[in-house]
């Protein structure tokens, strides 16, 4: 009896969690001119509008991909190194340093966005309106995710294996590359995926660090959401979601042993 009630509640919660994302999919295939639900008929015309070779959407999608891949690469590299130092290093203040690396997860993003805007404007860290500042900014958001994932993997790797490898004559880099890296690969991969997704979806910082000449998908969507009622927005939403879903599924596959233990 209690069990049935609990599952009933869980069903409602699942619907509550999943419906707002799912509702965009049927609308993206609408043949109508508005966001009416249920759609009056099936059509691919809004997808056609999105994939128009000369249109702003396709260009923005490519910018988004460029930034997300860049941010994931940078944060994976730096995050892995940081996690390595934090787990294998023996120095005072490691906890504080870990807190520092994790902090971008919790700092209010608007505050960070304003600050980054000032800094990029003044320090000339790349031209505002190119991909570089945004890649750097998104990498900062991705680093905590990589650090946490890699640190968790590293903590499970037996340090004796590394010791044995160096005892057998392996150089430092060789040990890392041949022994440690393969063992922590799932953690590195998981961190990279999450950091990719974070950048791919990020709006607030992107609003501040992009210009009309270089915009990512969420930025254009943000601009359109308040005024436009065209189903193209639903297409954008569906495409954003498809990408995240793929990445999260990959994440769960990589991490299934921990996640489903």
């Amino acid at each position: 009896m209690g069990r049935v009630l609990l599952w009933g509640l869980a069903g409602l919660v699942i619907a509550f969690l999943v419906l707002p994302s799912l509702v965009v999919v049927p609308i993206s295939f609408s043949s109508g001119q508005t966001l009416r639900f249920p759609p009056p008929g099936f059509s691919l015309k809004w997808y056609g509008a999105f994939f128009d070779p000369g249109g702003e959407w396709l260009r923005a999608a490519l910018s988004s991909l460029q930034v997300a891949f860049g941010a994931a690469a940078v944060s994976t590299l730096l995050g892995t190194l940081a996690a390595f130092g934090l787990v294998r290093g023996r120095f005072p203040g490691r906890r504080t340093l870990l807190a520092f690396f994790v902090a971008p997860l919790i700092v209010p993003v608007v505050v960070l966005a304003i600050g980054m805007f000032f800094v990029v404007l003044r320090v000339r860290l790349g031209v505002l309106g190119s991909a570089i500042p945004l890649i750097g900014a998104h990498a900062v958001l991705g680093i905590p995710l990589v650090v946490l994932n890699v640190a968790a993997s590293l903590a499970r790797v037996d340090a004796d294996l590394e010791f044995a490898a160096s005892g057998l004559g392996g150089g430092r880099w060789q040990v890392f590359q041949r022994v440690t890296l393969p063992l922590i690969a799932p953690g590195v991969m998981a961190g990279a995926l999450l950091s990719f997704v974070t950048s791919w979806d990020e709006v607030v910082i992107a609003i501040f660090l992009t210009t009309p000449y270089f915009r990512t998908l969420p930025v254009i969507m943000w601009g359109d959401v308040k005024f436009s009622l065209e189903p193209t927005i639903a297409v954008v939403a569906a495409i954003l979601m498809l990408m995240t879903t793929a990445a999260v599924v990959a994440f769960v596959v990589v991490r299934r042993r921990e996640v489903l233990r």
């Binding site: 609990l6 509640l9 869980a10 699942i14 509550f16 969690l17 419906l19 707002p20 994302s21 509702v23 965009v24 966001l35 639900f37 870990l98 807190a99 690396f101 994790v102 971008p104 997860l105 919790i106 700092v107 209010p108 993003v109 608007v110 505050v111 960070l112 304003i114 600050g115 000032f118 800094v119 003044r122 320090v123 860290l125 750097g136 900014a137 900062v140 680093i143 905590p144 946490l148 994932n149 640190a151 968790a152 998981a190 791919w200 979806d201 709006v203 969420p218 969507m221 943000w222 959401v225 939403a237 954003l240 995240t244 879903t245 999260v248 769960v252 921990e258 996640v259 489903l260 233990r261």
Partner: protein, 264 residues
Amino acid sequence: MLVLFVLPLAWVLFRSITSLDHGTAWYSNYVAFFRSTIYPKVLLRTAGTALLVTAVCLIVGYPFAYLMSSASRRARGLLLAAVLLPMWSSVLVRTWGWTVLLQDTGIVNGILINLGLIQKPVHLMRNTLGVGIGMTQVLLPFMVLPLFASMRRVDPDYVRAAAGLGASPWRAFMRVYLPLTRGGVLIGSLLVFVIALGFFITPALLGSPANTMLSEQIIKLLGPARDPGLATAAAGILLGVTVLALVVGGRVVRFAESLGIHQT
């Protein structure tokens, strides 16, 4: 990390004590913030909304996490997917999905009218209800995952022992199970509260000007109002409140461990 994390925050704080349009003292922007008739209310509303959302997340999330921890392996996978997929999908997409569902001509109102439960559309968004629904949906995973982690560590024998010793199910829950999962409750609540403080997109799309939260106010001050001094002071206050909540609530590292990204 130093250039794009510490420097930006420092820069905001520096601007808040140097861009002086409201007086000559270094703290004059902060004085102007608290003297105004609007901003203190926005600050209180922000904290109040965050508190409300935290409470709702806890009430909804606790039984859900319990089910997750006690379900079979396959059912657990399903429940976990239902939490993880929304957690990592775009807040903007989900919030926009809510506007499609909740607007006056939206799906929820349509269903309610067709069922004959209401005669004319009920306003489900552009008010506190809409903001609450949207924020709860975005933040629920951050509550469920720490709860789930703490519940998985509970040995079911303890509850059985309590029942065997004659405790009613309610008493066994209150005296044994709840205290054992207190860590998850605290961490989840703190996490949700702190993240809720900084929310921008959801209140902007699902709320009305009467629901403005601090993050939106900062952007308004910086953009249309062109008052960088007051904007950065407001940002400093938001940052301060966040840090205060964290310090009061516990150490940052404990949080990170509870994100569900890894379990040690």
